[in-house]
Symmetry: C5
Subunit: 292 residues, 5 copies
């Protein structure tokens, strides 16, 4: 990949020197307080305190924790050197209508550099009516990240009325398109939903409406569309344990570089969360490779 | 907290060296002339002259006075050294429709630094359809405040149609979400409404619609959601004296760092206002702690 | 007042060394060609040539003439040293709908400084749906005026649907609110309409809808709301001579620093206009005070 | 006029040293390809090649040619020193709806300076709902032109629904207002339509709806409204030869400094166009005056 | 042409030293993954991997490959010196409604210069309601390209409701207008659709609605409207081989400088694509001319 030196230094650190290593990525996101509100912390009240996630990230040997500037400035100081930081740069609440979905910047690449982050995260709402504004905002992020040597992780989320009408935001068509958009816009890593195969696929544009692919094969296709951008699979809402581990297994088998699971890990008591994290590590080890 | 030196210097001054001290904050806001118009000064005509509030802030030993650039430039000069200044950076009138609620900047962090202010205040309308523009504007304020070493106080106000439909702007759900948003965006201090428990709570999203919490416990929860951001309770419209002092007591017991009461204090004759202020000081003393 | 040295120098010049002096201000505005079109010059065709106003301002010993950049650059050169200049910085035509009333900048504070102006003028449409954009634009003007030492005169005009519904743009409620907004935003001088007492007042918000104040007392209240910002009374459409002089007398008695009359003065033949101006001077002399 | 030295140098060149001279201006515009499309070149296919207009401007001794950056960069190089350049800075196609008429910048004053232009041209749509954006864009152009010493020619065009309802864009009311707006905004030269007297005038605002002026007197009035801004009369669609020359005669008699005719000249075979141009020169000579 | 030295250097390289040479241009675009999604790669799955296009461009001796920043940064490094790069600067997905068609910047001219590109590409949607924003964005691109010496290729695409109503986006009227707009805005090279003659032409504005031109003559006319801007013919959707080669022949005979065919070439197996490319080379050789 034609990455600048600064990006290479930080990517190598994330992929090989922190967390599970071996070229994999295990990321703990804690931006749900902004995106969904404190409601996400009710099932495990301990998780309302961001220290919970910081400790889980440290003790569970995550590759990095991903969060907004406010949490970074108030909590990261005590974990520097122990938990690498991915500064999530844009976000929004779930309160106003999502019709024009757009995530404004809450922080900047310069903030990330100043705080010693190892990467930045940015949400692109592929297909939103505000897509043009989004691309322009992202262009600035990409440019600054290039200048300051920070890898860019794109949360590539299909969104908007047109997406809803054509199979929905988790359809193979939508996720596949989002993967390619992230690659073309300049993502170094792209965070994607694992595509869901369902009846709604029939509303996708051809030939997606007639494709007969298993979930794993569908995901493999998405990974190909992402090209040389590394793929992280996002967890979404909490699901059962076997289902969760199966998703990890399939993701890694399908070509993912790693996972970024939040609610599925920190919506559990600490011991349970650490145990599940160990199970993820075990799967990751099967895919570990030495630095090429 | 990972605060820069300039912020620490000024926070310490506000929390320990002016006003009640002991780690508490007693703030007198006088931005209602802009937000509501001179109508707020009819019940106590003396209060129309900003000197009234400046003298009250000085003689009542407030931690600081909070106001816009126009009042700061015209009146603050005679009280420097006696009343610390919080420059309120954005505001609006109540005249045009609130449907797209957004408060434009009336001053800047550079103005605050130039005038020797000890903090800046910024209103975020959480949930407004203009939330994206608001977040972007706030990002600039946060960055400048970081650069110039000024603590940021966020007036975190739920607002907009979607909020009105889900329990209202004073519901626990709305205030709780606003507290967390302020923390994630980078507030050092967050000004919140004391959540009101009412029938409307049933319209809040689950599990808020079934929560059975006393007002104090509800407030305590909000303080937790604000995390390491200090909490100021706002006064709102004038209420009866016992009710007011009870609110102060509950706020301090619930974890607030202090209060920011305007109309409830300066909509009274001077002697009455000073007396009430002394009563607040008495409550604060019970929560005073030496500098850690 | 905490004014910077440059502002003080220029304000002193306007208040004491040009025009009637003694701390009063007599301003001749000639921005109606932009705001209303050449239609305003039909009753006195000589007034279509801006030289008419420049000569009237000089020979009638006005404190200053107020106009846009185009007239300043083309006509002011021949009157420098004789007529101080207030550069009006924003304006609009009356042609497109006023529903979103907003006056864009036609010139800048730097233009004013470059041309040797002694103050700048800016129209704020208080209550307009575009109020947020207006406040932001004004913030830039205020900042530049602070930097370059130019006093800021705010044309504080209530405007918009909500204002029309609540007593109208000349109601005491509306003018009173506008006066305070100008003060809070940082006006050094505020230009206001003399409030009109009428049946429409009953549609104003309480307690304005029941206030029983004479016009002079109503105006006095407005002057108080403007605080330390000096007040200029605007003339509006041409009225009869006795009515006009009465307005001047009441304004000065009510606490105004001066008047800014355009059409009422230059929509007359030169000799008539000069005579009326002398009558205004006579009233002003009764309010003259030496420099404090 | 209080023009800067650079503007004077260039204006003198245009008015006295190129083209007909004697203080007159004969300008050939070739921006119709952008404004109307290649359709305007069908009646004289030779005119599709911009060299046609450049040669006509040179051989017909025009004061200048006016066009956009694309034509300037691709064709002007071969005519430098022979045909002065007026860089037209903004324009639009006629394809999308004109309801919000606004002409974005296609080039900048810096482009004009870089290419050695002697003036810049800018279209203001007076009365358009986008008027505020237009004024702001023009302010930047005026400022840069002041800084770089380039005279500004304003194409002052009434436009928009409100104009259409009040007599139309060629009514005396509309053209008269546009002339004054250009003066107030800072035009050095203003390009105006020759006002058309018609039944529609009765829909103009008073007193225009009852004015009984001949076309020449109506135009004379417009020239007065433009004040010290020089007036260029625009040609519009192609008309008959006697009618055309009469328009030139009336314009010059009415106080115009010159004409800016495009389609009426280049929508003819070269010899015919040159002959007509000579006829215009003859009329201009009657109005020539030595440099004052 | 009045091109700057940097532009000349790069144009010469593209026209004479890479690819078919002889003053022709053969460009391979690979921005369809962004514009249409991965759907375009189904018919030839190998083409999903951008290396397919890079190898095809190299082995088929194309003048250049055109793509967005993401693909450039991730894949171009291995082909530098072998395949010249045209950085496509703006783009959008096909998901949200096209009613306000506008392509935001995904990269910048500085990115192009940094990566060693030989030209930049920019899509203008002529006639779109967002045309004003588009022109403004393009102005910045043109200025930066001038400053950094990069030729500008304009994808001139008629678009929007008004275009659809008047003959459609491939009608002679629309393509002809687009060609001229590109020239006037400052394109060095313009990419156009080959105009389609159809029944819909009758809905075009006169005289286009009655023009009786063969496709080749229609195209020749378009080339004339583009003036000194070089013309590239775009391929569009995949068509049959004879039809494709006929289009190439007609284009070159009609005055095109070259073609820019994507899907018609890379939606084939490699050997087939190379063979077709050789056929194009053969046609180009008939039009090759030495450097003048």
């Amino acid at each position: 990949m034609g990455l600048s030196l600064g990006k290479l230094v930080r990517l190598k650190r994330l992929l090989y020197h922190h967390g599970p290593g071996g070229g994999t990525l295990l990321v703990l996101p804690i931006d749900q307080g902004l995106e969904h509100g404190p409601v996400d912390f009710f099932s495990n009240p301990d998780a309302l305190d961001p220290e919970y996630q910081f400790r889980l990230a440290r003790d569970g040997r995550f590759s990095a924790i991903a969060l907004h500037i406010g949490l970074a400035e108030k909590y990261f100081g005590e974990y520097t050197g122990e938990v690498p930081l991915i500064l999530k740069l844009n976000g929004k609440t779930s309160i106003p209508s999502d019709a024009q979905a757009f995530s404004p910047l809450t922080g900047t690449v310069e903030d990330a550099a100043r705080l010693g982050a190892d990467a930045v995260g940015y949400t692109v709402y592929v297909g939103s009516p505000s897509q043009d504004r989004d691309f322009e905002q992202f262009r600035g992020v990409r440019r600054d990240a290039e200048r300051l040597g920070l890898p860019v992780i794109v949360w590539a989320y299909p969104r908007g009325e047109a997406v809803a009408k054509k199979g929905g935001k988790e359809s193979l068509w939508a996720v596949d398109y989002a993967a390619r958009v992230a690659l073309e816009l300049g993502a170094d890593i792209v965070k994607l939903n694992y595509p869901v195969r369902s009846e709604k696929d029939k509303e996708s544009p051809p030939p997606y409406n007639t494709l007969d692919l298993s979930p794993v094969d569908a995901f493999r296709k998405v990974v190909e569309s992402a090209g040389r951008a590394l793929v992280l699979v996002s967890g979404g809402e909490k699901v059962g344990d076997p289902e969760l581990l199966e998703k990890v297994r399939e993701s890694m088998a399908g070509g993912a570089t790693g996972i970024i699971f939040g609610r599925n890990l920190w919506q559990r008591p600490r011991e349970d969360a650490l145990k599940m994290t160990q199970a993820v590590h075990a799967i990751f080890r099967e895919h570990a490779e030495p630095y090429r």
